[in-house]
């Protein structure tokens, strides 16, 4: 042995190693067959493009699948998972190196590379993998967090993997013990095992025999484990990284439009109605339960659990998917009715996924934000809702009322008995007159003087939104914002009666038809209002309008520069047009509206403004920013009476009140409605909900009588009345 060239003899003590390749054949057959049958199931879905823009995809792949950022949001599981998969990956590379050495003559098994990588690094990573597995077992079977459920499968493949790793070290230890490997110290774990074997006083022949047995045993276990991959949740080894690569790159807030003229089905009521990517999602789930933990509906005992939605659909696909492969006779979009032995196939929407579950979703996106493998729960839930809303005309009562009102009145507030411009009485809010030759006219039913010539007298179109216009509490926010805009010298106008609901409510209920009708009317109006002349922006105080105007109207010919009022106010402050001089002595916490934060990544603008308020102390709620907990009003649930479980808005109100803040600031009219109610029912008048515009109104109010009493509740500085 040349002591200057570190090495080891590959396949020491092993005879008949070619048997290994014979054994590998069935393993590979099982592996590829498993994935092929999955592939056939995914192909049941409709086409969609998910391979464009490879640069962005690769960047996301790196963050999601390599660095695994989202996994590390939970430190423990982040490291645990990193140890296991990192260890496995390094060991796999080590094994591949052996093959390189053996068949291609690449000298991986000698020299410094052998010493540092093949011995030291592999040993360390093998140990880390064992540590990771121990952490996993401890967590799953001792800590037992609710988000993990336990199936026999989990125990089997965790145990199997542990055995594979341990036997690997046993083999190494025996080899070192018998061969008295001079470089043993470079394999510290193997060296320790060797020391242990020697300490037993085992005879060398016994060790040689044991080594040979362990080697084959290790091989068999490893092969069994690989064969298991496509048949257990280990599938995620392959599908999860792929899923991250193929994630949606579109704006988060955009739902895929349906071409209603050509649609052969509406929404999704069986597997054929999903895209192949939606079916692929199901097999990419790691069952980690992060989505379940994030879900406000699940936290308040609703029959919705995003993890269960994914897994139930997955099980349905695995069990009944093969029946879909036989083309249906008459309707190519129909689901199979029964199994070959005459059992009925359960209906997907209604039996596999309960209608109540679908109607409990606030579309808050917390699940998708939490999911480490980029599974898209919300579009899937929305597709099933679309089926219910459009094909079945079935939905909760409150939503049906909203739809009725939208159909006839263009706003979802049934029975408000108000007019769209009621809120601006007494304020100087110019209403754009889009009739021929119009300009703007003053508020209050045309009582004010006409503005300047047509098209010349405003820079910013303020999209007021139905909730701001019709809901009493939110009308105060609109009035505050009007005053703030005036103080900053912003030349703005509103559309008055020509504004219709953007259709967010209709769309999130699942009523795409009504949404597209409203979108069409609004796009025509907006294109007329903004069409000629210099580019103008749209400002809105409603994150739902914001999201729809910005991300969904482009599909219908409306391309606008849209800002949310929290961003706009920030700009006004930054540019010095708005001076936050007034004192606002409050402890404030900010509730992130889902459609502003998670959907549109606006987190900092409102916070910065709050911090700029003199006298204000800002505190963060535990679940803030990306992990914000929905107010309960999204997905048109603001119109529905919450009948099942506890109430989401009360849960959120308690979380906010726990900060000790006396003011919960938000920036969404639905959040306002939900939180004001939640706070009233949980903490009486102790804690109030205010919109950012109202706080800024206070901070910018001119000193004098108007400011007196500004702190007395929900209508700060309403002095211009």
């Amino acid at each position: 042995m040349d002591l200057s060239n570190p090495m080891r003899e590959v396949y020491w003590n092993i005879t008949g190693k070619n048997l290994m390749y014979v054994l590998l054949v069935p393993v590979l057959v099982a592996f590829f067959r498993g994935f092929y049958s999955k592939y056939r199931l995914w192909k049941i879905g409709r086409p969609t493009r998910r391979r464009d823009n490879w640069r962005r995809r690769l960047a996301g792949f790196f963050r999601g699948a390599v660095v695994q950022e989202k996994n590390f949001r939970d430190r423990y599981s982040g490291w645990m998972h990193f140890f296991i998969w990192g260890g496995m990956l390094v060991l796999f590379i080590g094994t591949a190196n052996v093959a390189l050495d053996e068949y291609l003559g690449v000298p991986t098994m000698e020299g410094l590379f052998y010493l540092y990588f093949q011995s030291l690094v592999l040993d360390v990573f093998g140990l880390l993998a064992i540590v990771g597995l121990a952490m996993a077992l401890y967590r799953r079977y001792v800590v037992r967090p609710p988000r993990l459920h336990r199936t026999p499968q989990d125990a089997v493949f965790l145990g199997l993997l542990l055995l594979v790793l341990v036997t690997g070290f046993v083999i190494e230890g025996l080899r070192i013990a018998v061969t008295e490997d001079p470089w043993a110290a470079w394999s510290p774990v193997g060296w320790a095992f060797a020391a242990a074997f020697r300490a037993t006083g085992m005879a060398a022949e016994t060790m040689v025999g044991l080594h040979r047995f362990s080697w084959w045993f290790h091989l068999a276990l490893a092969f069994a484990w690989i064969a298991c991959v496509p048949y257990t949740k280990l599938t995620h080894l392959v599908t999860s990284p792929a899923n991250i690569y193929m994630r949606s790159l579109g704006p988060k807030g955009r739902l895929e439009p349906i071409n209603l003229e050509t649609a052969e089905f509406l929404g999704a009521s069986n597997l054929r109605h999903f895209t192949w990517k939606q079916l692929f999602d199901l097999d990419a789930c790691t069952e980690c339960g992060r989505c379940q933990d994030a879900c406000p509906a699940h936290a308040t005992l609703k029959p919705l659990n995003p993890k269960a939605v994914v897994l139930d659909l997955r099980d349905y696909m695995h069990e009944y998917g093969p029946l879909y492969l036989r083309r249906a006779q008459d309707d190519p979009w129909a689901a199979p009715a029964e199994t070959p032995d005459g059992r009925p196939v359960p209906v997907m929407v209604g039996a596999v996924i309960a209608e109540d579950a679908l109607w409990s979703c606030t579309t808050c996106r917390a699940c998708m934000e939490a999911c480490p493998v980029e599974i898209e729960h919300v579009p899937a839930i929305m597709d099933m809702r679309r089926f219910l809303a459009m094909d079945q005309a079935s939905m909760p009562e409150g939503m049906a009322d909203a739809i009725r009102s939208l159909e006839t009145r263009g706003h979802p507030f049934r029975g408000t008995g108000g007019a769209r411009t009621d809120w601006l009485q007494g304020l100087d809010v110019p209403v754009l007159d889009l009739s021929a030759g119009g300009g703007t006219r003053g508020a209050a039913g045309g009582a004010g003087a006409d503005g300047a010539g047509p098209d010349a007298d405003f820079d910013v179109l303020w999209w007021v939104g139905c909730a701001m216009a019709f809901d009493e509490r939110n009308q105060k926010v609109a009035r505050s914002l009007a005053r703030v805009l005036h103080r900053a010298g912003v030349r703005f106008a509103i559309l008055g009666n020509r504004e219709k609901c953007t259709g967010d409510a209709a769309r999130r209920i699942g009523h795409e038809y009504l949404f597209q009708t409203l979108a069409g009317e609004n796009v025509a109006t907006l294109n007329q209002a903004l069409g000629n002349g210099r580019p103008r922006r749209i400002v809105t105080a409603c994150p739902h309008c914001y999201n729809t105007l910005k991300h969904e109207y482009p599909d219908f010919g409306g391309h606008y520069d849209v800002v949310h009022h929290t961003e706009f106010i920030r700009e006004l402050v930054d540019s010095g047009r708005l001076k936050l001089d007034g004192e606002v002595r409050e402890t404030i916490t900010f509730h992130d509206p889902c459609y502003l934060g998670r959907y549109n990544d606006v987190y900092d603008a409102p916070r910065k403004t709050l911090k700029d308020l003199s006298g204000a102390e800002v505190r963060e709620i535990e679940r803030a920013r990306e992990s914000s907990f929905c107010c309960g009003g999204g997905g048109a649930l603001v119109f529905v009476e919450e009948r099942i479980g506890t109430r989401i808005n009360q849960t959120r109100a308690r979380q906010a009140a726990e900060t000790g803040a006396r003011t919960v600031c938000t920036a969404c009219p639905f959040c306002m409605t939900m939180l004001a109610d939640g706070l009233k029912t949980t903490s009486g008048d102790e804690v109030q909900a205010l919109d950012l515009a109202e706080l800024v109104d206070r901070a910018t109010a001119p000193a004098g009588p108007a400011a007196v009493g500004a702190g007395t509740g929900a209508s700060p500085g309403d002095g211009s009345r």
Binding site: L260, R409, G417, Y513
Partner: protein, 266 residues
């Protein structure tokens, strides 16, 4: 079973008084932008018809509306919730008809349709709220009339079973056909939402328009039954506050009494 449902298109009844605009000269509402809706009880009538057709396992529902061109939207909505056909009765001679005239026109249309086993109307229109057309229509058709029905089922021997609201309960009647029923609202008869497929199909369905001539009605004769609106205004409510003074409680009381007498309130 042939069912005819009479619908009236009206100005959105949710418009609050302060937003209601009237042209005092023409004595007509002046809100060109206002939404037009189906009268609320007429919607209930339509739902009762739809449920009856389901329970009977078949039947034919025809929606009929007398009104201006715009009323075709009300009929489309009826088609969208799967009424089988719709007819618009529109003619300048039909404007401002009193309930007798309206019943005459509707009656003529129903006869032209070949009669009906059951005719449903709302208990009142939702705008003028006269509440007479249903009964007068029954007269016109020579049929019995059941008021305040909220539910209908197939009865024995081709009869119709009608549930009728009474103070504190319901009466269940069986009527031979033809019969007219005016419908009131109940939890069970809020008009369903349309399925989108039906909604889109409804937009493509033809809706014939029948004029006075089509119905064989003489415009001059109809003109006799025209309503003349003397005045139309939004009622205003005034609140004034007056303090009644006096040295002693007795003084105050008698001062108050005097004031109330002056105001002719007692």
């Amino acid at each position: 079973m042939n069912i005819v449902v009479c619908l009236k298109q009206i100005i959105d009844y949710e418009i609050p008084p302060r937003a209601f605009r009237i042209d005092r000269q023409k004595k007509k509402p002046a809100m060109p932008d206002a939404s037009l809706v189906i009268g609320p009880f007429d919607e209930n009538a339509l739902e009762v018809a739809l449920q009856l057709r389901e329970k009977a396992g078949g039947g034919r529902i025809t929606a009929v509306s007398m009104g201006p061109e715009s009323a075709i939207e009300a009929l489309r909505k009826a088609l969208a919730v799967t009424a089988d056909e719709a007819v618009l009765l529109s003619d300048p001679a039909f404007s401002d008809l009193d309930p007798f005239g309206t019943a005459r026109v509707l009656g003529a249309a129903i006869k032209k349709l070949g009669g009906a086993d059951l005719v449903l109307t709302g208990r009142q229109s939702g705008d003028w709220d006269a509440g007479q057309v249903g009964q007068l229509l029954a007269e016109e058709l020579g049929a019995p009339c059941v008021n305040f029905a909220f539910r209908a089922e197939p009865g024995g021997d081709g009869r119709v079973r009608l549930y009728k609201e009474t103070p504190g309960g319901a009466e269940i009647l069986e009527a031979g056909t033809p019969v007219v029923a005016t419908v009131t609202n109940a939890e069970t008869n809020q008009l369903r939402l349309a399925k989108v497929r039906d909604l889109m199909a409804a937009n493509r369905k033809p809706v014939p328009t029948w004029s006075a001539a089509d119905l064989g009605l003489d415009p001059a004769a109809l003109a006799a039954g025209r309503i003349e609106v003397l005045d139309l205004y939004v009622p205003t409510y005034d609140a004034r506050c007056e303090f009644v003074t006096g040295e002693t409680p007795e003084d105050k009381a008698s001062a108050l009494a005097r004031r109330l007498v002056e105001l002719k309130l007692v």
